[in-house]
Symmetry: C2
Subunit: 348 residues, 2 copies
């Protein structure tokens, strides 16, 4: 039983797309994974450029590329026929293909055959194929922070990534732990927790965040919300398997209703923090909320800071938009509450 | 997208087992499903008798049996070679085989072949094979009660069955809704909710309990506990998909620690009720706990009643051991709180 692993270094495949908005995955990898990315592989009529080195597949292989990561998501999420020759060649030459699209590449006969001829494998980062363990609830060494949310898609992944970067910049030993397909591509490892059979969700979350050094932080990408009736099972399993020492609440100021259930208003931030803490205390009585991360992109720049200050005063917690402010205020809060004296606090 | 369906009437297959404790499933069916059970099918050296009509497979077919339900669970959960000729003949003659064992019958070549020759199907009640929907959170017509628990295996299924029977005895329109393999065998329908991919748990729970008459009660079999860190994802998804109007808390007085996580004490009953209500209010603000069901089989008969009375006084809720007391006190509570005036209450 193990997490999904992406072999690096790799190249980002952009195919023949014409529109940069379809290359979000590739752009994310270019932003977050610079040391792992050798360059971009584009077909001759591709109009998108991520400002990476342009490589042919042969050049990528010469430079030691171990994976070809599909960095584009066409509308509908399907693979184009024009991409297949590149994929076939990659598999035959021992490169893995990393697929985050909805199309299951195992249903494409050419790729199945190519896989059987070569040593490359198709890795589907949306799907857990291995058997997962049942959670034991055993306390693991090391510290854990989980980003939780008022809903899906409110910045939990982005906040976890930015926070990990900010902690590392302060020489704090921290690792981003991915639980969704984009996160897994960025981290090069992880489990798409929402594809795990419900009996094993907490067990998968335990697997994602194993024992570590006593002062090490796992910064775990949250999923869904306890207040989203479609996906609260995923959120609950992830919360209990993560056993977080700290949570950060994520929210999008433009979101008023639960994305998948428009009949449901979003919870008040304080209520959302309270319920997540209450449920988390079952597995970690010392858990605390150290701050709030809000996507304020829908606000005018001049009202943004006032809004964050108001929330900060109401909740008594640091409140940032990580895209604008970074995560320094969260790092400071974490440092104050845990880092000194780290060992003693955690041993309690 | 649909639930698992068992065609009735059926016969209970006991194979050649020697020990009655291995025939719990069959005994449960004999107890709860009398109108659906034509009899038992036993091999010549079987030593267990459920006091049902003994039928050969041919007689079962003549009497119109549509399914052969495997009513035994040998140690290790595997199928015996001596059973296969009966299974092959059943499939060839259009009977379904209902399997709740861990062994996947699709891995046995003789049965796969027999299935292709006949019209009978192997139905695995442990496994959801169809795609499940994402929950919408839409309010469905009808009333719903979910049994919740302090842990796994504390009587949630038994309580739901007994409560359904007691409600029906009072001419209240109520249906037991099964969410686990034994429950599905008893109900003849349902979904093994713990085998559903986590993203779809709430959606599966919505499917189990569809729109119904305004005064109809679905009595839904709960799973796990929000306080069991191994299975809380299942419990949360089931709670949110069920949108219960009422819950009954189930507990086993002998249980002190979470079954799968021995480092975790069981919650106090009041805390357990509170958290389940708090989470259920997200989908149904009017939800209430109408009583408590406790397995007291580990207590001396003379201390049993005193114990239940004490809990009843502490919680201010009717408290029964359904195996001893039945569920009349719960029916009365439900009747008082919902039945008069039923329509108005639910419309609020």
């Amino acid at each position: 039983m193990s997490t999904i692993q992406i072999k690096s270094p790799y190249v980002i495949f952009l195919g023949d797309i014409q529109d940069k908005t379809l290359a979000k995955t590739g752009a994310g990898l270019a932003k977050w994974c610079e040391p792992d990315v050798l360059g971009q592989v584009r077909l001759s009529n591709c109009k998108v450029d991520l400002n990476l080195a342009d490589l042919t597949l042969e050049q990528a292989l010469e430079q030691g590329a171990k994976s070809l990561v599909i960095g584009v998501a066409p509308v509908g999420g399907s693979i184009q026929a024009s991409w297949l020759p590149t994929f076939v060649k990659a598999l035959e030459n021992g490169m893995d293909i990393i697929n985050g699209l909805h199309t299951d590449l195992a249903t494409i006969p050419d790729l199945v055959k190519a896989q059987s001829r070569g040593t490359g494998r198709v890795i589907n980062v949306r799907q857990v194929t291995e058997e997962m363990p049942i959670a034991t609830g055993r306390k693991r060494q090391g510290l854990r922070l989980l980003t939780v949310g008022t809903d899906c898609a409110v910045g939990k992944k982005y906040t976890a990534l930015e926070l990990t970067r900010a902690l590392n910049a302060e020489h704090i030993n921290a690792t981003f732990r991915a639980t969704g397909q984009t996160g897994i591509m960025i981290a090069g490892e992880g489990l798409p927790i929402d594809s795990v059979v419900s009996d094993f969700v907490s067990g998968a979350a335990e697997l994602i965040s194993p024992d570590n050094a006593a002062d090490h932080w796992d910064i775990i990408e949250g999923q869904g919300s306890l207040f989203n009736p479609s996906f609260s099972a995923v959120s609950m399993g992830l919360l209990h398997g993560s056993q977080p020492d700290a949570i950060v609440l994520c929210h999008d100021v433009a979101r008023e209703r639960v994305s998948t259930c428009p009949g449901y208003p979003l919870p008040a931030l304080q209520n959302c923090i309270d319920l997540h803490l209450q449920c988390a205390r079952i597995v970690n009585p010392n858990v605390r909320c150290i701050g709030v991360s809000i996507n304020t992109s829908s606000l005018e720049p001049r009202t943004r800071r006032a809004y964050l200050d108001k929330i900060q005063a109401e909740l008594g917690l640091p409140c940032v938009d990580p895209l604008v402010d970074g995560c320094d205020a969260l790092v400071t809060a974490l440092f104050e509450q845990f880092h000194q004296p780290l060992g003693q606090l955690h041993a309690k």
